[in-house]
């Protein structure tokens, strides 16, 4: 009963939140809309990663490379379509689908290997994978455009939007739509029977196998689905930046995705949302604080970026040690406390 209730609440929260966010795009400045779109793009990848790591127990440091795969597939398809002078929704949707397909295939390949690896081994392989990415793009630079990457012809904002909001607003819509689709699909997957199987595999592979779960299959599917989500995230990034380059998807991005999932609360989609927001907002806040300090340009340049990275790292360590359920865990705890206090007041114990 409570399950259905809470499920209905989440749907309501989701729909209301979605409407609110889209409404927000009408009032935000273009730059804020761009940030919103970035949050949504990260959310796609972080949601996929949090499912893989938190629910299925596979730690991937390769999700930046999977995003890159999505971005490049998007770029190839979009540029190909543009050469044929195809425009309109096709120029937006087909490249995104291509990105999903590309990332899914690559994810399947890695996932097949990953299914046989454990903990740190998988982390190491996927780390090597993300480190090898620039090598591949510069080796086949006629295809991938080398370190510079590729410029992408993207679908412009529709005519009827002209006047009302900037390109950024359109970008935010596309990004939010993609994130919404990813989150809804992942949520259903995590709540399905397959979600239970993923958790069983995470908790104890031997026990899961004895219970009749196909462990390898579960791990491969989890990795593939998670890769597809990362691919969408990469596609959205490519669409927003109109480019795909290896530098945009380096090890740091992988670490940031993991960090977002961990700090937000690993294994929960709400956590992925908190983490993605933090990923975009925190550097911005730190940037405006340091700008306010009127530091020398050299010091400012050193602090720029590094301060946020260091803070992220420190918070990630702290979360692992003292608050393993992350922000979402704290939110939930606070919620419980408020609720239990409320019920105490409404029905005071005789004692």
């Amino acid at each position: 009963m409570t399950g259905i209730m809470s499920s209905r609440t989440t749907v309501i929260i989701g729909v209301v939140g979605l409407i609110a966010v889209i409404g927000l795009t009408f009032v935000l400045e273009p730059f804020r809309n761009y940030q919103l779109a970035t949050i949504a793009a990260y959310l796609c990848a972080v949601a996929g990663l949090t499912m893989l790591t938190g629910v299925n127990g596979q730690l991937s440091l390769g999700h930046a490379a999977l995003m890159a795969c999505g971005a490049y597939c998007y770029a190839f398809t979009a540029n190909g379509l543009a050469e044929q002078e195809i425009e309109g929704p096709v120029l937006l949707i087909v490249p995104i689908i291509a990105a999903v397909v590309g990332a899914t295939v690559l994810g399947l390949v890695i996932g097949l290997a990953a299914a046989r690896l454990h903990g740190p081994y998988l982390a190491g392989v996927t780390l090597a994978f993300v480190i090898a990415l620039p090598a591949v793009t510069s080796r086949f630079s006629d295809v991938f455009g080398g370190d510079q990457g590729l410029w992408i012809t993207v679908e412009r904002r529709p005519e009827f939007l002209a006047g009302r909001g900037g390109t950024e607003m359109f970008q935010a819509w596309v990004a939010i739509a993609c994130a919404a689709v990813v989150v809804v699909l992942l949520r259903n997957l995590m709540r399905s029977n397959f979600g239970r199987q993923m958790r069983a595999v995470r908790d104890n592979e031997v026990a899961a196998a004895l219970a009749g779960i196909n462990v390898a299959r579960t791990k491969v599917i989890a990795f593939t689905v998670s890769s597809a989500a990362a691919g969408i995230g990469g596609a959205v990034m490519a669409f927003m930046t109109q480019s795909a380059s290896p530098g945009a998807f380096n090890l740091f991005i992988s670490l940031f995705l993991l960090m977002a999932a961990v700090i937000g609360g690993i294994g929960t989609l709400y956590g992925a949302l908190w983490g993605s927001i933090l990923l975009v907002v925190l550097p911005d806040v730190i940037g405006s604080i340091t700008r306010g300090l009127s530091l020398s340009p050299e010091v400012a340049q050193r602090l720029d970026g590094n301060l946020a990275v260091g803070l992220f790292g420190a918070v990630m360590v702290l979360v692992v040690i003292v608050a393993p359920f992350g922000i979402q865990g704290l939110v939930r705890k606070a919620g419980h406390q408020i609720r239990s206090r409320g019920s105490l007041q409404s029905a005071p114990h005789p004692k």
Partner: protein, 294 residues
């Protein structure tokens, strides 16, 4: 001509491989001491190299810098273990990986804030030109220096673990911390010691390899770490001899790949090698014990 190039690549690969082997040894040490794959090892080594760089720049003396790298590495290892890793619950092995990655971010950010993200060229104490009296082998004095340093590390570790009481205590604490404690071994202290030793060695390795590459930078050891991880896995995370042999083999392989197929391809070659070993012989080529899943 062909042969000359082959010899050059092989010797160069051995020299690099020796350094990677030392780095891989540091991973093996921590794995054996604490059952943790230390993903922050590269960052620790990088920071130690910055310490060496500062000391050498201030004193003009390379050797003081080398000592500083060793001591600095040990100190950072101490801080990381006592300050962070000790408090990470071992219940989920992913926790220690995530915590180590957090440490990596912190170290890279701190170094970036202190020194900026630019490249500093680093001086070496010996010439990198091939020695005339070893004509045809194209070994430089610096290569020899590297071999000597790594040999020193390997022998030192062999003596430490094979002959000394501290080494025996460290091994006991690594294999069976609770039992060792009952026998009077201060196991937690031994684990800390393992971290310090490993971090000092990785600092030395980074100090040896960074001058031969693009120079000192907060990310100077990212790729080296991946190589070392691969070597440690190839050799079997539990096996010190495996790390040494694996280091030399992988070093030569990488040198051939980058010499004959293109310099940019070595990370790809490493990825392929890593996957091949993990899928075909997950316990590592040289390890005798069963694969550990943690």
């Amino acid at each position: 001509m062909e042969l000359e190039r082959f010899i050059f690549l092989t010797v160069d690969g051995l020299a690099r491989g020796a350094v990677y082997a030392a780095f891989a040894l540091s991973l093996v040490l921590i794995w054996r001491a604490a059952r943790i794959v230390n993903f922050s090892q590269g960052a620790i080594a990088m920071a130690a190299t910055y310490i060496a760089f500062v000391v050498t720049s201030m004193t003009g003396n390379y050797w003081l810098g080398l000592v500083a790298a060793l001591l600095g590495g040990a100190a950072i290892g101490l801080i990381v273990e006592r300050g962070v890793m000790r408090f990470v619950s071992p219940v989920n092995p992913l926790n220690s990986v995530i915590a180590a990655l957090g440490v990596l971010l912190v170290i890279q950010a701190v170094v970036g804030m202190l020194f900026g993200n630019g490249y500093y060229p680093m001086a070496v104490p010996f010439s990198q030109e091939p020695l005339p009296w070893l004509a045809g082998l194209s070994i430089s004095a610096y290569d020899l220096f590297v071999f000597v340093c790594v040999a020193f590390v390997v022998l030192g570790l062999a003596v430490l673990f094979g002959k000394t009481n501290v080494g025996l205590r460290m091994r006991a604490a690594a294999f069976s911390p609770e039992l060792a404690r009952l026998l009077g071994v201060r196991s937690t202290r031994m684990i800390t010691l393992g971290w310090m030793l490993a971090s000092a060695i990785s600092g030395l390795a980074a100090l040896l390899v960074i001058p031969t590459e693009l120079g000192l930078n907060p990310h100077a050891t990212d790729l080296v770490f991946v190589y070392a991880f691969t070597i440690a896995v190839v050799g079997g995370l539990d096996s010190a001899p495996g790390a040494v042999i694996g280091g030399l083999v992988v070093g030569v392989l990488l040198s051939w790949v980058s010499g004959y197929l293109g310099a940019t391809l070595s990370p790809v070659a490493v990825l392929v090698l890593l996957l091949a070993v993990l899928l075909i012989k997950p316990g590592g080529i040289f390890s005798v014990t069963k694969e550990r899943t943690a």
